[in-house]
């Protein structure tokens, strides 16, 4: 995971970006939750949701290549995490890998988990490809997340960039000073850098705090933007929720 992904949204105008960020966020959550809530074995409904995500990606003008590349990294992680299902889920043994028995139930569950994850991952990639961090932050505010959360994310976003820069510099400096390359050395180095990073983060936070006070800060980070919901956003969101609801209901009735 690279934090620089945060800033990789494209400033493309599309039917998706014309909805308010809050609607985009809620739509993503709806898709992810809908696919995650599908009962095991509901392959048809899963296919419907997957198709819906692909259509939205198209409408959002997210290139297929980008969608594929950006989902691959997280997908590999999900793949590794769910590989355990192959052998942990009991059932009729299908074949054996050494001492591990792979069951047919395990295989199906493994595949289904991957399917559900792909829908959620694609939805998330569409969100980040269309929505900038400041827009997301507005959505969080509009959704009434605690002020502590939105304010620390607001300040933390910039600090993250500054901090990563400083950590990279620390790492380079440490590397140039000691030639050791063993994994013990590496571990010790990482511990040292992490610790130094925390105290740097604090000093930076305190200096920022003073700079904020100098400009009249009194405990609230006021929001500059407010967005008004338009009919387009409401309509799009309602349609998405209906679609997911129908698919989900159908899947549960069928199973």
């Amino acid at each position: 995971m690279s934090f620089r992904h945060v800033d990789q949204y494209a400033a493309v105008v599309s039917p998706v970006t014309r909805t308010v960020p809050t609607a985009r966020l809620l739509g993503t959550v709806t898709l992810a939750a809908g696919s995650a809530a599908l009962p095991f074995g509901a392959w048809m409904p899963l296919a419907v949701l997957f198709l819906a995500v692909l259509l939205i990606a198209r409408a959002a003008r997210v290139p297929a290549r980008q969608l594929f590349i950006r989902t691959t990294g997280p997908f590999v992680l999900v793949f590794l995490a769910s590989a355990g299902l192959l052998v942990l889920v009991p059932g009729e043994p299908l074949f054996t890998l050494g001492v591990l028995k792979v069951s047919s139930q395990g295989l199906e569950r493994f595949a289904f988990v991957l399917g559900r994850a792909s829908v959620a991952l694609s939805a998330a990639v569409i969100l980040v490809s269309t929505t900038s961090f400041p827009e997301l932050l507005h959505a969080f505010r509009e959704l009434r997340l605690p002020h502590v959360v939105t304010a620390s994310l607001g300040v933390g976003y910039r600090l993250l960039y500054i901090l990563v820069d400083e950590l990279e510099r620390l790492q380079r400096a440490a590397r140039s000073r000691n030639a050791g390359t063993g994994s013990t050395t590496r571990r010790r180095l990482l511990v040292g850098i992490t610790a130094a990073g925390l105290s740097r983060a604090f000093s930076r936070g305190e200096r920022t705090h003073r700079a904020m006070l100098a400009r009249g800060y009194a405990g609230d980070v006021p929001a500059l933007f407010s967005q008004s919901w338009d009919r387009r956003s409401t309509l799009a969101l309602v349609m998405l929720v209906l679609l997911v609801g129908i698919v989900l209901g159908g899947a549960h009735i069928l199973s």
């Binding site: 400041p134 910039r158 930076r204 920022t208 400009r215 009249g216 980070v221 006021p222 500059l224 933007f225």
Partner: protein, 239 residues
């Protein structure tokens, strides 16, 4: 003449015991441009933070436009004094430049749309129109300096206080900054060890050394006093 900034017998000791200021006195008239000179560790940044009430005086006092800096007057004082920190990264802490620049007016109770308008206007004045929705880490060092300046100019302060404003700038950005500052009306107090900048911006210089004012004179006179400059580490001795 009306004195806008009056520092009298100001002393400050950091909690760890470092005596950073030892009885500093000077005054700046409205419209004046003063360079605060001094080697590293002489107490320039410490002094500037007192002008804004960020540090409480251990002894002595500071008054801005006749208002003595005490906890109850901080709001009024901070509205009049625009302090730009040594590191612009400390000042630009929000996701977009526009939010950073609008921060001060919003804190002052200006409604959001008006604050946004003010912020846009200020950014445009400094030639930063078009980047207002960018994050500071996507700006060049020079643009970042200007943006930090914008975050205080937006409140139309009476005194502009700059700490080491040209630290990491190349010659061209430096010239651009000087040009911008010369066109402004605000009273200016610039802490620096860059004599070139001091000369192009100011007529008067105050030299600080170990927390004391050791010289306060016309900059032209200071800059030709080789012995003084060498004594206080402002110029390297000639071979």
């Amino acid at each position: 003449m009306e004195m806008l900034v009056v520092v009298s017998d100001l002393s400050y000791r950091y909690p760890d015991g470092t005596a950073a200021l030892n009885g500093v006195s000077f005054a700046v008239a409205a419209g004046e441009r003063v360079a605060l000179l001094g080697p590293t560790g002489s107490g320039k940044s410490t002094l500037l933070q007192h002008l804004n009430g960020l540090l409480p005086a251990t002894a002595g006092s500071v008054a801005i436009a006749g208002i003595t800096v005490v906890p109850s007057t901080l709001r009024d004082v901070r509205r009049r004094v625009g302090l730009v920190f040594q590191d612009p990264n400390d000042q630009l802490f929000l996701p977009t430049l526009l939010e950073d620049v609008a921060f001060a007016p919003l804190n002052d109770g200006v409604p959001a749309h008006e604050a946004a308008h003010l912020a846009r206007e200020t950014l445009a004045e400094l030639g930063l129109a078009g980047v207002e929705h960018r994050a500071a880490h996507h700006l060049s060092g020079g643009e970042r300096r200007l943006a930090a300046l914008a975050t205080v100019l937006v409140s139309r302060p009476a005194v502009l206080v700059l700490d080491e404003p040209t630290g990491d700038l190349d010659a061209r950005s430096r010239r651009r900054l000087v040009g911008l500052l010369l066109r402004r009306e605000e009273t200016l107090l610039v802490a620096t060890h860059d004599l070139g900048i001091a000369e192009s911006l100011c007529r008067r210089g105050v030299v600080l050394h170990e927390g004391r004012v050791v010289a306060d004179a016309a900059l032209g006179d200071l800059l030709v006093d080789r012995a003084l400059l060498e004594r206080y580490g402002l110029a390297a001795p000639l071979e």
